[in-house]
Symmetry: C2
Subunit: 310 residues, 2 copies
């Protein structure tokens, strides 16, 4: 029942020797979602033993090259490896002609369907719904159309407390009814559902926000997620440059995390001028102590928080 | 007066953890020529301290993704780093629409001129002539249009032997004449040029042949080069697959080197199914002992062979 994030690239526009451009893989109970496709993503996937054919869907935040240029090699490699399963790509509208051009020139021998789902929302919308997880997208504040993504486990089925089954002598039909969230009515007695059931675990959630300048709605849209990844291209002293380029500082990222009451913050998308990232970390932690630096090849697990009620 | 080859990538279609797709940089007396642009080339350039802005020209053998997909990130990075110097790209004709599409979508803010020189020759032709070096291109035998490249230092000026200057009491005009390759005529006495002059060093040469199946003319076209890089995608046991895919085995590469009488052979473009390359090396060395494996990040110098004649 894993919910695991693998960081493949944390560089911003210019990669450096050990930082690739933006890419991540989120594994939700074995379903792999690739988020952004910076150049070299397929090599990083090899290096981190990430299955090419296991990728179910790709989410592209925006069409700057450092989030995109790895997709051509990756799609080709999937074809060379004989992929047949459909691949969904959630990306801004402007991706459509890029994909079409790519397939027209380099798409020979592709035996799998690629479906582009254009993103153009102005507020959060669900874009993918699977048995255990949903993905939604929302606009960010960048120079060009850019979208953030939120992945959330679905609410689990309610569990009925064993002790209450015994206490009330609940029958099978009543147990099923309680699992559906209903009160149990016996004649003129009503047993409230809340007394009978509990949520076996809290659904986990992860939000990815890159690239973006700060804006008021964002904290609301990522409220309460277990893990937030927020770009932090610059430290404080470059705040005016960040604003001019529609990026964020580490402090901006931390403010968003604090306002949204997230569980934990990961910052990344570092400017190549900063091989030493300690200033990013310290500035973010002043505002939001539960901040960590995203590092290439790091693996972050969000453990399941089980509730057990007898 | 260096003539140095830096190997950036030796993988064929599918990169593996420590092998990037094809790319090399040839440094001829400080002029940098990039040969093929597999994905990740800009990262490899960082890792090997290769100057982005120092690249004078790019040579693309063919438009398979593993030789090309790194060019988009590289051109973008050159722009971000403020390149103003013209960049020449020698590539098959079919590169033109790819370049135009790329610039139309991702070329904002490019302040340098990119000139595409389309390749379509059916026999060796000089494509670039600089003060100290020429580059020529010739067709290879692959599934799609594909070209090999030969880089050759120019013939140096003749030197006049000091001893002969003394012996014949050569004047300044006569020395100049001898340097031009002329005989010295004094009345009815002729001093042959060959007695007076010598070539101070042998011009060095490097040929790059990937991707290709064997064909008769190739050995003639790369005859006598100091260093030959020849693809060796497969070992012997995969010879029929090599033929079907218009690739070469290690033994094919070695036969070409032997027939061409090259100084040294480097093989590369290895299939990802072979993490252990020893079989490639042993099979090639049976035919051409002066074979080495190209390895990612290796640097190969071709030293200057000076002639000193008093």
């Amino acid at each position: 029942m894993n919910f695991t994030l693998k960081i493949l690239g944390t560089a911003s526009a210019l990669p450096i020797s050990d930082r690739y451009p933006s890419a991540q893989v989120l594994d939700v109970r074995g379903r792999l979602f690739l988020i952004d496709c910076g150049e070299g993503v397929q090599v990083r996937m090899r290096q981190t033993s990430t299955s090419y054919l296991g990728v179910e869907a790709i989410f592209i935040s925006h069409l700057h090259g450092d989030h995109l240029f790895g997709i051509f090699g990756l799609l080709s490699t999937m074809a060379l490896m004989g992929r047949t399963g459909k691949l969904d790509i959630f990306a801004p509208r402007a991706f459509r002609p890029v994909l079409e051009f790519f397939l027209s020139r380099f798409g020979e021998g592709f035996n799998y369907e690629i479906v582009h789902h254009p993103l153009s929302m102005t507020a959060p919308e669900t874009v993918l719904e699977l048995r255990n997880v949903t993905a939604s997208a929302f606009p960010l504040n960048h120079k060009i159309d850019c979208f953030g993504f939120l992945f959330r486990e679905k609410e689990p089925e309610l569990n009925v407390r064993k002790s209450k089954i015994e206490e009330f002598g609940l029958g099978i039909a009543e147990i099923a009814s309680a699992k559906r969230g209903e009160d149990i009515v016996r004649g003129d007695m009503t047993i409230p559902n809340g007394e009978l059931t509990y949520v076996p675990y809290e659904p986990r959630s992860y939000a990815y926000c890159s690239d973006t300048a700060p804006f008021p709605e964002l904290a609301q849209w990522v409220r309460g997620v277990d893990l937030l990844y927020h770009e932090a291209t610059y430290p404080d002293e470059m705040a005016s440059k960040a604003a001019a380029r529609f990026h964020s500082t580490a402090r901006d990222a931390a403010r968003c995390a604090q306002e949204a009451g997230v569980g934990r913050l990961l910052i990344g998308h570092y400017s190549s001028k900063y091989p030493d990232l300690s200033v990013f970390l310290s500035q973010a932690r002043e505002v939001f102590p539960d901040t960590d630096l995203a590092q290439d090849r790091a693996v972050i697990e969000i453990p399941l928080q089980r509730h057990t009620k007898l």
